[in-house]
């Protein structure tokens, strides 16, 4: 009986945890609801992961991103729409508000369809530039799908993207079969600004370029962007960890490119034989949407604790005030969400570090936090660092600012005061060897004073050798 209940509880828990960490209300914006058939597999995947899908057209009367100041949806997918404006319900300001309210956006573009003004302005605010004509087409004469775009070269074939830096977690290519390929059909490339909030997930190969098929059919003289500067799929994570993913080709999420057969062009000298096989698009779409909608790459701070690390000290947790030059220990517990459950957070690579800063105006200490297995549990990993407080009093912050591309931001600040030495916390003077002569001086003065008092009060006059001298002295004393 009991086991049955626990089983149900477990089931329920599993069902709940299978959702995104933000929420499961997902709005899909389409030109026409009928179009969703093109994306049925993708949408079915999302539904199976627990999202509640609502479909709306931009013109819909019932569409509202906010209700009474609260978000009505947790996530939005924009599929390409032919209308140039998205109407008053989806103005760029509303979309910015949506991001500021921690909502997530998945925006898809297509080279065949002009991008709505609203999205262009939104992306411009994020420092993402789209081709001026809005219909730039990305082609690559070296990496294209020979079976479907042998001539036009507008279906790019790319290996699944690995991490952009060795110390960044590999979300999109991990576990992909060798030689698997992503198809990127008829997409738009974007140029990303230099900001740190943007991360290109999928970059064009160095020989790819974007051109305007209407005006630059013969040759390309003016270039929007080319090579790796051209981001095909890019991610934006706001400071509040709201995410926006820009997919240059909506088609890559369509059913026909999920598990489609593709082949690389057979090449001449120097190249291997053409690789052919099924696309990786379905898995990629799952991971991409999973990342965008906060199913993966989400970090959670479970608790933070700091205390005095001195032998014999009262072990009070998180005191508001410390004293200079005391040893303290700081521990933070972190979990990472992996699709369905919280898991202990581990650093993506050995070259990365979870760092603790102890700062006032500027950091006094910046130390790596080490895993603390004793305090870790099945779903949380504890990291701790022990150090000595600086010899400067002030209002300090224990600060863990763990911000990495593709991981949600961890910004924790715990303020403590570090006070000076109280008057009775210094070493006593008899401990300091340099003070001994002075202490002895005090002792001698005390003893001398007592002796003087005794002598002054109880000393009898000395019978002077002449005998008269004493009398004379007494005489002078009297007359004075």
């Amino acid at each position: 009986m009991r086991s049955l209940i626990s089983f149900f509880v477990f089931l329920f828990a599993a069902a709940v945890s299978a959702l995104s960490t933000t929420g499961n209300r997902l709005l899909v914006i389409l030109d026409d609801v009928v179009e969703k058939a093109n994306y049925s597999k993708f949408l079915a995947d999302l539904e199976s992961r627990g999202f509640q899908l609502s479909f709306e057209t931009p013109k819909s009367e019932s569409l509202a991103l906010f209700h009474l100041g609260e978000r009505s949806y947790d996530h939005i997918i924009f599929f390409p729409t032919k209308t140039k404006g998205l109407g008053p319900k989806l103005t760029p300001n509303l979309l910015v508000d949506f991001l500021n309210a921690k909502g997530n956006l998945l925006v898809t573009l297509s080279s065949g369809v002009p991008t709505p003004n609203s999205l262009v302005s939104l992306l411009a605010e994020l420092d993402i530039q789209l081709p001026a004509e809005r219909t730039g087409l990305v082609v690559d004469h070296f990496n294209y799908d020979a079976s479907s775009a042998a001539d036009l070269h507008d279906v790019l074939l790319l290996p699944p993207p690995g991490p952009i830096r060795p110390d960044v977690k590999d979300f999109f290519a991990a576990g992909a079969p060798k030689d698997s390929l992503l198809a990127f059909p008829r997409g738009v490339g974007a140029v990303l600004g230099p900001g740190e909030l943007l991360t290109p997930i999928l970059r064009a190969p160095r020989t790819a370029y974007s051109y305007n098929p209407k005006e630059q059919a013969e040759t390309v003289d003016e270039l929007f962007a080319a090579g790796e500067q051209l981001a095909l799929v890019s991610a934006f994570q706001a400071r509040n960890s709201a995410r926006l993913t820009l997919v240059g080709s909506a088609e890559m999420l369509q059913d026909k490119w999920f598990d489609a057969e593709v082949s690389q062009p057979s090449s001449g000298a120097g190249k291997k034989a053409a690789a052919a096989g099924k696309t990786f698009n379905r898995e990629f779409a799952k991971r991409l949407s999973g990342w965008t909608f906060n199913e993966i790459g989400v970090l959670r701070v479970n608790w933070i604790e700091h205390h005095l690390d001195e032998p014999g000290a009262a072990n009070q947790s998180n005191p508001a005030i410390y004293r200079i030059k005391k040893d303290v220990k700081y521990t933070i517990s972190l979990s990472e969400h992996a699709w369905t459950a919280w898991t202990p957070f581990t650093l993506p690579s050995a070259s990365d570090a979870l760092q603790l800063e102890f700062s006032m105006l500027s950091p006094f200490h910046r130390l790596p936090l080490q895993p603390d297995p004793a305090l870790s549990t099945d779903d949380a990993a504890a990291y701790s660092a022990a150090f000595r407080l600086p010899d400067q009093h002030g209002i300090f912050n224990f600060r863990v600012s763990y911000k990495r591309p593709l991981l949600s931001n961890v910004e924790e600040k715990n303020t403590v005061s570090v006070r000076h030495m109280a008057h009775d916390e210094w070493p006593r003077s008899y401990v300091i060897s340099g003070a001994w002569p002075w202490i002895a001086g005090i002792g001698v003065t005390v003893a001398g004073w007592l002796a003087f008092c005794a002598l002054w009060m109880f000393s009898a006059p000395v019978p002077a050798p002449g005998g008269a001298a004493g009398a004379a002295r007494a005489e002078t004393k009297k007359t004075q």
């Binding site: 160095r206 080319a226 006094f364 010899d391 000393s459």
Partner: protein
């Protein structure tokens, strides 16, 4: 007009692609030259798609690099859709494309000077790797060949372009606070020596007093005259010193103050009597 113009070649290309499945792009008459603004002197080098130039070409701040070639598809001069010169910074792998102006007959030219280069390439320390990419629609194999290395020479009189590395989230260097050194005491031997020297003054003082004739002979007389007040007075002086010692070792101010007050009252009350007795002896000429 424009539309027709753009459409025909695409169709042509389509046709060509079917016809020549195994064709490949290449170039001929490739040359690179650097023209100085002042001198007008051109350093010209021939380019080869198969072997890059052995010596890097250097580009001064006022110079212009001129690249010209004739694109050929399977030996036939032709206009490719993509004719780029790619400059790559070798350390970061950053690459900047420079499209060549291609004429119908495949003649392609590009001119590059310092102001066209992105900041990162200008600031490069190693020579830039220059490759030519020629490719187009259809099945013709594209060409992507390194052709020469380009050395950027900056003018020492002109400040180098400011390039600030963009902020990227990542690990930061560790910081460890450097503590002020603890105050130091002199060697213990020195302290001990001076301590002994100070302590030594007390016996010296006492001996000095006694050799000068100090004594306690009137003690019995004083006690006899005013026993209680003398005992209390001297006792209170002792007690006061004891209070100071207690304050030094353990007492707080608020423990000390009442005791001091009590002892002080005793001192004053007994002191008037005791000192009066001392004065009477002095007046009697006994001191």
């Amino acid at each position: 007009m424009r539309f027709a113009q753009s459409f025909t070649p695409a169709l042509l290309l389509l046709a060509a692609g079917v016809a020549q499945a195994a064709s490949a792009w290449g170039f001929d008459e490739g040359s690179v030259s650097v023209v100085g603004r002042k001198s007008g002197e051109a350093v010209k080098e021939k380019l080869n798609a198969r072997a890059p130039l052995s010596k890097p070409v250097s580009l001064g701040s006022t110079d212009t690099l001129k690249l010209s070639l004739t694109a050929k598809d399977n030996g036939k001069a032709k206009r490719p859709h993509q004719a780029f010169l790619l400059l790559q910074e070798q350390e970061s792998g950053l690459e900047a494309p420079f499209p060549l102006t291609v004429k119908e007959n495949g003649k392609a030219v590009a001119q590059i000077s310092h102001k066209d280069l992105p900041v990162q390439l200008l600031a490069a320390t190693k020579p830039l790797k220059a490759s030519v990419v020629l490719a187009s629609f259809g099945s013709a194999q594209g060409l992507d060949a390194p052709v020469f290395e380009l050395k950027i020479e900056t003018d020492p009189n002109v400040p180098p372009p400011a390039y600030e590395k963009p902020l990227r989230y990542g690990k930061k260097p560790e910081i460890h606070h450097i503590f002020r050194p603890d105050p130091k005491s002199p060697p213990k031997v020195v302290s001990l020596f001076f301590t002994l020297a100070v302590v030594g003054t007390l016996p010296a003082l006492l001996i000095g007093w006694f050799t000068l004739g100090g004594n306690l002979n009137h003690l019995s007389k004083a006690i006899g005259a005013a026993p209680l007040s003398h005992a209390t007075f001297f006792g209170s002086i002792l007690a006061m010193e004891f209070v100071f010692i207690m304050y030094y070792t353990s007492w707080t101010l608020f423990q000390t103050l009442p005791v001091i007050a009590a002892v002080a009252v005793a001192t004053v009350l007994s002191g008037t009597k005791a000192l009066g007795e001392v004065q009477s002896r002095r007046l009697a000429g006994e001191r």
